[in-house]
């Protein structure tokens, strides 16, 4: 297979973006009425649906603080290459689920819901790179929608290094190259790192570059997500006002 260039001489990537540009983000909050919190997030062509149920009662006797359970699965039609025939315990899915669980355990105020559990279900409907980041962002928004108390929002972005350029928010073509890639999740207001997932080997300077670029990407994404959450909340408040005025 001939290697196509990932970055054209003009400095544009395969999908026409500049190296330090994230993809277009669309999010729809609260679309599933039966779930406590839900979010349908699109980062470019990657579409992820996250639902949060909870806090609900825990059957076994667990010590005091609440726990989180997370399940991540990719739809069979989500990607064109690997065929997943209904196997829930795919190794990648289990690994991503457990890393998301650990990330959110650090940010949820678990003392406020003792003897309870929060269930997080993530379904990837279309995969075009950056599913881990999209999943984390979608879960954050779904948690906000469900009203589960958190210390901070967790925003995530990926970054990679190819052809001597650091790029932000990788798509599928850039992920398959298997160059140095970093998926970073930060706490929105303090800027500290919540999760860092690193693939492949690279020099330390490149690693520092990638962290800086990913953090910048996270801040860009935070702007979009924050404004979406604000709009949604204002809409809810406005509808409540219109009901009480009657």
């Amino acid at each position: 297979m001939p290697r196509e260039e990932l970055i054209s001489p003009d400095g544009l990537r395969t999908d026409g973006r500049r190296p330090l540009e994230v993809r277009k983000i669309t999010c729809r909050i609260g679309i599933l009425p039966r779930a406590d919190g839900s979010c349908h997030l699109e980062m470019g062509n990657t579409v992820v649906l996250a639902t949060v149920y909870g806090p609900r009662e825990l059957s076994s006797r667990q010590p005091f603080s609440g726990i989180i359970r997370c399940e991540y699965s990719m739809a069979t039609f989500a990607s064109t290459d690997r065929r997943r025939r209904g196997k829930k315990s795919d190794r990648t899915s289990v690994e991503i689920a457990s890393s998301i669980k650990k990330t959110f355990e650090s940010v949820l105020l678990t003392d406020l819901f003792p003897h309870s559990r929060v269930d997080v279900y993530i379904q990837v409907l279309q995969a075009d790179g950056g599913e881990r980041s999209a999943a984390i962002n979608a879960v954050t928004i779904a948690m906000v929608n469900a009203g589960i108390p958190m210390k901070d929002l967790i925003i995530s972005c990926s970054s990679g290094y190819m052809e001597n350029t650091t790029v932000m928010d990788l798509n599928n073509v850039e992920t398959l190259v298997r160059g140095p890639q970093l998926t970073l999740a930060i706490y929105a207001h303090s800027g500290k790192v919540a999760l860092a997932h690193w693939e492949s080997k690279a020099a330390f300077e490149i690693f520092e570059h990638l962290i800086a670029v990913a953090k910048e990407g996270c801040l860009q994404i935070l702007d979009v997500i924050h404004s979406n959450i604000e709009k949604y909340s204002l809409r809810l408040i406005a509808s409540r006002d219109s009901i009480s005025r009657k």
């Binding site: 599933l32 039966r34 069979t76 989500a78 409907l125 075009d128």
Partner: protein
């Protein structure tokens, strides 16, 4: 002093009695009439990059998403089985009720509902697909459709929602035009021609299913309810799926939940079923 318990307490203690009280007045607890459907919405083509045909359908709060991925297979010489069935050879259906759809459903366990829906969808596909439409190069290359259906949110009446989504996805499906290359062992996509839809039987002939819930109380009174929500599915004594097509000349029945049934009830149900089928097929054609 007489206390009257709130209706939500009655709903926990004696849901069937409460439900019967409403049915006797010809209305449901949330104000819907007995044969009135919830808001039906069909959206074709929500997934664009990885699937060639998709649709998401919702009836009330039940949402189903169907994606069709076509693949090319080389025909093996052996015909499996005496009858050349469409489903085994040219398409496969996978139905899942993942954990996101319902509070109490645990993932990893194929529920009965999923199996029933899968069977019904396979039967429907046998009816509406034409075997010759799948042939690219005779006796060598054929299309194979991988149909995956997910329930995103469940609130009763999954059967109709899935059927509507499947029909929408089939209507949305666009296959690329393929030509064999010069040596004849590979296929090449013809980029100049636009994608074509799959050849199928015409929409007016497509069957439709309507699950009817029959609430019978001590054998004397019967009420039939269309478009059951999840709570109602637990309350009615029998659910019958009535299959028919727009012309009304082919009718079939299948039971989802066992209970008593009589011909008189069916006669009353059929006109409603016919009216609804016409409405749904008309909607499919115009959307």
């Amino acid at each position: 002093m007489q206390h009257s318990l709130g209706w939500d307490i009655w709903n926990i203690l004696q849901p069937k009695e409460l439900y019967k009280g409403f049915l006797q007045r010809g209305i449901r607890p949330n104000g819907r009439k007995l044969s009135e459907y919830r808001k039906i919405h069909l959206r074709k083509g929500p997934l664009v990059t990885t699937v060639d045909g998709s649709a998401s359908a919702s009836i009330g709060q039940t949402v189903a998403l169907v994606g069709i991925q076509p693949k090319v297979v080389e025909w093996k010489e052996i015909n499996k089985g005496p009858v050349k069935s469409i489903v085994g050879n040219f398409c496969s259906v996978q139905v899942e009720f993942p954990a996101i759809c319902h509070r109490d459903m645990r993932s990893g366990r194929t529920s009965e509902e999923a199996l029933l829906v899968k069977e019904s969808l396979e039967n429907v596909l046998e009816e509406i697909l034409v075997g010759d439409a799948f042939c690219i190069v005779a006796d060598k290359f054929y299309w194979y459709l991988q149909i995956t259906a997910y329930c995103i949110s469940f609130d009763g009446n999954a059967m109709e929602t899935f059927l509507l989504a499947l029909y929408g996805a089939l209507l949305d499906l666009k296959l690329p035009v393929l030509h064999p290359n010069s040596s004849g062992d590979r296929l090449v996509i013809d980029q100049s021609q636009p994608k074509v839809a799959l050849l199928m039987k015409k929409v007016e002939d497509w069957p439709w299913v309507i699950p009817v819930g029959i609430f019978s109380d001590s054998g004397s009174e019967h009420y039939f309810v269309l478009d059951l929500s999840e709570e109602e599915e637990n309350n009615v004594s029998c659910i019958v799926c009535v299959w028919n097509n727009q012309a009304g000349n082919k009718v079939a029945l299948s039971k989802l939940k066992f209970g008593s049934l009589s011909e008189r009830i069916l006669q009353q149900v059929l006109p409603l079923v016919k009216a609804h089928t016409e409405e749904m097929i008309a909607r499919l054609q115009h959307d």
